[in-house]
Structures are given as structure tokens and as C-alpha cells.
């Protein structure tokens, strides 16, 4: 079977930072770390090494990818192996983008290797596998055999097991599989192991955590925004917010509004009984209370629009997009704090 290896200018031996502007280039066979990788691969030959300068990739990403994908396709490989990039952000990003597009556009299985906190990890978008490595090149000897093992699995086309068994970083989704023991027995096993001092879980906690931002220093000076996932909209739902699986979010002005009156606002959320909410929409978006607190000086000012969507049945990716878009608007408006309601 055939593999192609991707390296940056440094590991390909083209030069250091002075060569970082090198455009994509093809080298015969295995080069640099590729030799160690080749030694660890069974039945797989590294037929070519593709290399690109880190700066070139960063500054001409589309062009670099186009050339790299062309060179890759010409080799007809069974697998693409990128890196290891360790903690290097530019290199890791290039490895991630290239390997992701190899999978997406050319249907070539691909893996990239880098430190788990390398920003490139997210850039694979779960399409290419990522082998975790140490943060610097001292981890080369440890990384290469693990990359080889996973490359072997990918090239053979066999179905992969979970991340901890196969040695790649979790991609953020779960797959059903048949367990050998029923749930009750596995639960008891986990409990016994916990009593024995080792806490394990079958459900990995989300790895994408955001640290809580620092608290608001002085709310009486703050601009506070109201956001809801409870589907609160003006009566009649003029912009047709879906009751489930919303495709977007909406913004409505609160300028001059002291309260959300029944008959003027309603909830179109399809996931709960909206009777109580429609009797008094402040039960979802507490405008009456925050206006009172604004008058009393407890809060500086209420942002003059509220943001709304229906949070039920929304795919994770869409929900993340809504959050980012709303966050961008709030940032631009200088909002200091958010009161979010969900059901």
C-alpha cells in the first residue's frame, strides 16, 4: 500500500524560518521524520513527501491546498500522514487542513499528528484523525510508531474502534456499538473500579470547555443583554421562527419597551407547553424585572434588543453557529453581561 507524508519546510530539510515562504513541493520517498515512520510501517511504502513552508501555507492557504491536493491525488495513496507538528500552531493547522480536505475532497483516509492543544486539532473538524503527541520534538520517537499503527488501520480500511483504543484524539461524536456485557454489569464494573480508586467513564466529558470569563465588576455600570432559547417572538411570529430545528436566530428591539405584554409576544417553542409563557412572556424573557432594576440603578443599561431562537432539536453545529453570531453582535454592541434563558 502507498502512503504520502506531509511535512513543513523545517522537517523536510528545506530550511528554517528563512524557508517558511517555500511553496508546496514534492520530494521522492520518505524524508526526515518520514524515515522513522517508514521503518514503523508494515506493508506501506511512503512513496512521496509533500512539503510546504508554514508561512506560505498560512498566507496562501487556498492556493497551497489546491497544489497539495493535486500532488496528493497524483500519487494515488491509500493514506495521507501529516506531521507530527507537536505544538507548532502554523504547522499543525496546515497538517489539519490538508488532511481534512484529503478526506473530504479526495476520499483519501488521513491522519495528522500534533499536541492535543494545538489549534490545528479543531481545524480537522473531525474529518481526519489526530494522533496526540508531546508538545515538542522530544516526543518524536513516541509519536511515530503510534502514527504508523493508525495509518495501518486507515489504509486497510478496517472499522476503527474508539479513540482510546486506537490512539487518536476524540472527534466529538459518539458511535453506537455492541458491548459485550449489558449496561447493568458495566455500571457495576465502573462502580467497583471507582471504589478501587480509579474513576472511569464510558461517556467522555465534552473536551471543548470554555473557561468562565471573569465576573462583571460593576453591574450598575454594565450593559446587559437578554437572550433566550425559549422561542419568544412578537405575536404572530412575523419572521416565522420554526418551532423546532431552528435554522437561525432573530433579534427584536426592546427600545422603549417596559415589559413583554401578553398578546404582543408569545413563544413558538415546540418543546414545551407555552400556555404559561404566553400568559406572561416575562416568564421567559424577564424584561419587566430588568427594567425595574435598571431604573433602580442595580443594572447600568439593558441592551436595546433581545436575541431569540428555539433551542429544541437544533443540531450542535447550528447551535454553535448561532452562539458565535450572537456573541459577535453582542461584542460589537459593547455588551458586558448576558442573561440567557432556556427551558
Amino acid at each position: 500500500m502507498r502512503a504520502v507524508h506531509y511535512l513543513n519546510q523545517f522537517f523536510a530539510g528545506l530550511g528554517g524560518e528563512e524557508a517558511a515562504a517555500t511553496p508546496p513541493t514534492r520530494l521522492d520517498g520518505a524524508v526526515g521524520p518520514g524515515r522513522g515512520l517508514a521503518a514503523a510501517l508494515e506493508d506501506i511504502e511512503i512513496v512521496a513527501t509533500l512539503a510546504c513552508g508554514d508561512d506560505y501555507f498560512g498566507e496562501h492557504e487556498d492556493k497551497a491546498l489546491e497544489v497539495l491536493l493535486g500532488l496528493l491525488e497524483a500519487e494515488r495513496p491509500d493514506v495521507l500522514i501529516a506531521g507530527p507538528a507537536f505544538g507548532s500552531g502554523r504547522y499543525g493547522y496546515a497538517c489539519a487542513r490538508f488532511s481534512r480536505l484529503a478526506v473530504e475532497r479526495l476520499d483519501i483516509p488521513a491522519l495528522a499528528a500534533m499536541h492535543e492543544e494545538n489549534p490545528g486539532v479543531g481545524a480537522t473538524d473531525g474529518k481526519a484523525l489526530v494522533v496526540g503527541t508531546a508538545v515538542n520534538v522530544a516526543g518524536m520517537r513516541d509519536a511515530l510508531p503510534r502514527m504508523a499503527q493508525l495509518a495501518q488501520a486507515l489504509a486497510s480500511g478496517r472499522e476503527l474502534g474508539p479513540p482510546d483504543e486506537e490512539g487518536y484524539l476524540p472527534r466529538g461524536f459518539r458511535r453506537n456499538r455492541l458491548a459485550e456485557k449489558p449496561g447493568a454489569e458495566r455500571a457495576v464494573d465502573l462502580l467497583l473500579s471507582k471504589l478501587g480508586g480509579e474513576t472511569r467513564s464510558e461517556v467522555a466529558s465534552g473536551f471543548d470547555r470554555v473557561e468562565p470569563p471573569a465576573p462583571v465588576a460593576d453591574l450598575s455600570e454594565a450593559l446587559v443583554a437578554l437572550v433566550t432559547e425559549a422561542g419568544c417572538v412578537p405575536q404572530g411570529n412575523p419572521d416565522r421562527l420554526p418551532t423546532i430545528r431552528a435554522q437561525g436566530w432573530l433579534r427584536y428591539s426592546l427600545a422603549g419597551e417596559a415589559t413583554l405584554r401578553s398578546g404582543e409576544y408569545e413563544s413558538v417553542h415546540g418543546g414545551f407547553d407555552v400556555t404559561l409563557a404566553n400568559e406572561d412572556p416575562n416568564r421567559l424573557v424577564p424584561l419587566d424585572t430588568v427594567r425595574a432594576l435598571e431604573t433602580e440603578g442595580r443594572l447600568g443599561r439593558i441592551h436595546d434588543a433581545f436575541y431569540t431562537t428555539t433551542g429544541n432539536g437544533t443540531p450542535v453545529a447550528a447551535s454553535i453557529r448561532f452562539g458565535r453570531e450572537i456573541a459577535a453582535e453582542l461584542t460589537e454592541s459593547g455588551v458586558h453581561a448576558v442573561l440567557l434563558s432556556g427551558t
Binding site: S205, G206, D208, R209, V210, E211, P212, P213, A214, P215, V216, L219, V227, E229, A230, F272, D273, V274, T275, L276, A277, D280, N282, R283, L284, V285, P286, D288, T289, V290, A292, L293, R298, L299, T309, G311, T314, V316, S319, I320, F322, G323, R324, I326, A327, A328, L330, T331, V335, H336, A337, V338, L339, L340, S341, G342, T343
Partner: protein, 73 residues
């Protein structure tokens, strides 16, 4: 998800919800448990004020990731 992404932008966000377990799983950090799915901010103004005050207090507080505050009884 909205809470997490807004906090990612650096804006402290308090999520008032009656399903705090789900909120912690999806990455919200400041969570106040509301009384019910159908009315997270309570039924009357007095109750609503207590919940909003609790939420504001949380915005003013340093918290660990995925912190849930109950309403004081």
C-alpha cells in the same frame, strides 16, 4: 451552546434553566436552576425578581466551570 459560545467571546453569561444537568454537559459555566421548563423566570414578579437577583449575583461571582446555583429557599 449559546452560553458557551457567548462566554467564549469573553462575555459572562448566566443561563437560567430548569435543566441544569444538560446545561453543564454542553459547556455552560454559570447556571441558575429555574423553577420549571414552562417558566424559567417564575410565575409572578416577586419570584422573578428573586431569580434575576440570583442570576445577577452569579454574574458578579468568580465561578468554577459548570457551576449550578440553586434558588435559596
Amino acid at each position: 451552546m449559546l452560553a458557551k459560545e457567548i462566554e467564549r467571546a469573553g462575555i459572562p453569561t448566566v443561563f437560567v434553566t430548569s435543566l441544569p444537568t444538560i446545561a453543564t454537559m454542553i459547556g455552560a459555566n454559570r447556571i441558575v436552576r429555574g423553577p420549571a421548563i414552562t417558566h424559567p423566570f417564575g410565575l409572578d414578579e416577586a419570584e422573578r425578581r428573586r431569580i434575576v437577583e440570583r442570576a445577577l449575583e452569579m454574574l458578579e461571582s468568580e465561578v468554577e466551570p459548570a457551576t449550578v446555583w440553586e434558588m435559596e429557599t
